[in-house]
């Protein structure tokens, strides 16, 4: 975490908006692309400019400051405009592309995986893909599967701004998975220029009995569960993963080697997922210090959408802090340390 000056209590969406404004001011090669990012495009003649403010306010005001060349509304053509971004990036621009929800990502799958993920590697460095793809939703494991893409999930407004800045400045393609659950959450955010380094996790709370690993919005659940566990006399360390691919194996390993236990809390589908991948890696890197098998807390294996269809669906589907605490308590009751 680099640099900081004045701080303001800032909402998550506004932190993303501030990051874009800052980077567009700083670097003329940054171009914003996506559906409705300008809010009612093509109606400037009728006085409608920024009439809607972009999806969830993330791009609010940008069209007025930077104009339609750099804040470019696209047709509903996710594959088309993501591939277009690859062309811009190959020529030195830094497109920031809004794929509104992760459910829309499969429409552009070829462009993301065959084109954007592979181009730097397959061209042996002749071409770079400095693209930021930003999306709302938790279906990140499938994207993390592809080498060549950096995947990040901010856990609060502070990391949202810092990771967005890092993503835009990176010469590698970065996919940002924002959580709608965090949209109106607030945090102290530096007004000025700072970035959260790609590839690094952060330890948010020190503990000795169990490591709770949060991914994006589940980090808040881990902190809540850690507070509950403290009441019960169990000391939980909370690690915030932040970069999902390639993730920070040393930091997570160090934590688990200290506590001997790992609970990964993940909102993504469970099979072939990031959470199980982390458990498998950590089982090897912390094997001689493990007091219990690493476990995951995830939704059940049903193809529900990340946008909740109903309150009942949400209650059934997503893990909560109580469930995280219960799982941690269960594995803390095993192994030599707690017998």
């Amino acid at each position: 975490l680099i640099g900081a000056d004045g701080m303001s209590r800032t909402k998550y969406w506004k932190a993303c908006n501030d990051a874009l404004r800052q980077e567009m001011t700083r670097d003329r090669s940054v171009i914003v692309l996506g559906e409705d990012v300008a809010g009612a495009p093509g109606r400037a003649g009728d006085g409608f400019v920024d009439a809607w403010g972009g999806p969830f306010g993330i791009t609010r005001g940008l069209i007025k400051e930077f104009g339609p060349d750099r804040v470019r509304d696209t047709p509903i053509s996710e594959a088309g405009f993501l591939g277009l971004a690859a062309g811009l990036a190959a020529d030195g621009y830094r497109p920031w592309v809004d794929i509104m929800f992760t459910e829309l990502m499969p429409v552009a799958w070829d462009q993301l995986t065959n084109r954007i993920a592979r181009t730097h590697y397959l061209s042996a460095g002749q071409l770079q893909m400095p693209i930021t793809v930003k999306t709302f939703g938790e279906c990140y494991s499938a994207v993390c599967h592809f080498p060549g893409l950096v995947c990040v999930a901010p856990s609060d407004a502070y990391t949202a701004k810092g990771l967005t800045v890092a993503a835009i400045r990176a010469d590698d393609p970065v996919v940002i998975f924002d959580s709608l659950k965090l949209l109106r959450s607030q945090a102290e955010v530096p007004d000025g220029d700072y970035l959260v380094e790609l590839g690094r996790a952060r330890v948010l709370r020190a503990g000795t009995d169990v490591t709770l690993l949060g991914i994006g919005a589940t980090t808040a659940l881990c902190l809540q569960a850690a507070a509950e566990l403290e009441q019960a006399g169990l000391s939980a360390e909370v690690v915030d993963l932040l970069t999902l691919a390639p993730w920070d194996v040393p930091t997570v390993t160090e934590s688990v080697r200290k506590t001997g236990r790992l609970v990964v809390v993940d909102f993504d589908h469970p099979s072939c997922g990031l959470a199980t991948d982390i458990c498998a890696r950590i089982t090897r890197t912390a094997w001689d210090r493990l007091l219990a098998a690493p476990v995951t807390v995830t939704p059940p294996p049903v193809p529900a959408m990340s946008m909740d269809a109903s309150a009942a669906m949400a209650a059934m589907y997503l893990p909560d802090a109580a469930g995280v605490a219960a799982t941690a308590t269960k594995i803390a009751g095993t192994g030599p340390g707690r017998q």
Partner: protein, 310 residues
Amino acid sequence: MSLCREFETTLVAYASKDGQPIGHPQAGQEAVAAGVCAALVPGDRVLSTHRAHGHAVAIGCDLDRLALELYGSGEGTCRGRAGEMYVSQPDVGYFGGTQIVAGNLPMATGLALSAKLSGRDRIAVAFVGDGGVNQGVFGEALNLAAIWSLPVIFVVENNGYAQTTSTEYATAGRIVDRGAAYGISSTAVDGQSALQVHDVIREARQRAARGDGPTLVEARTYRYEGHYYGDQHRRYRTQAEFESWLARDPIALLRQVAIEAGVDEGALAAITAQARDQCVAAFERARGGREAMLADLLDGVFTDPSLDRR
């Protein structure tokens, strides 16, 4: 054109002997690649399909390094990582092919938008086959190019077959009409005539460069081999059809035009001989090239080396 033909002939001869992949043959289609590339200027960007090596040769990729790349050598254009489909050499304007038949059209619109935003006299060309016109991104890319009036030319190489499936069977209407549906200037051209292709592309390039937007060109052509080398293509193509296209070989047609225009036959033969020598030398070098090593293959996933090998 001769260089495209000789490159493939030499590739087939050497790779068959050496157990190397031959990829997707383009013999018969050279007039499109050569006609298009001859009408471009340095700085223009070209994207290919997976029938790619003809385009790579026509735009001027380094033949020695291209042959090494096809041989999987660490000394190849892309250190032996890319092979035929993804090999690229951007310093000559060649941004590579793709497995996905229309997959490169969106990227071409991005390269064109880049040219437009930066105000450079530069255009993008995307080759696509008749199979590619039935993928969704074909329409998406045409639409983007049209609404933003982008300096891009979509060149449809209609060789009559998508793998083994005939265009007649798989494609509704006329391909050239699909451009018109988006309000894009669209032309059908004899893809066996390098001169006709060249003229149409030169005009399209001028239109794009003066800000009048994209063009779609449908070039009717034919591949002499199968979809891949070894494909039993005569099982799905008649003898009569095959012969009718052999009779309109693009190199022979241009040679005839040249001779009628008074070009010396000896000079034409020298062009072919020189092309052959160049290709033989390239594949002799490829045969002796250093194999790709782990360092060629494991590093450079990311530009930031701290993210590699995790």
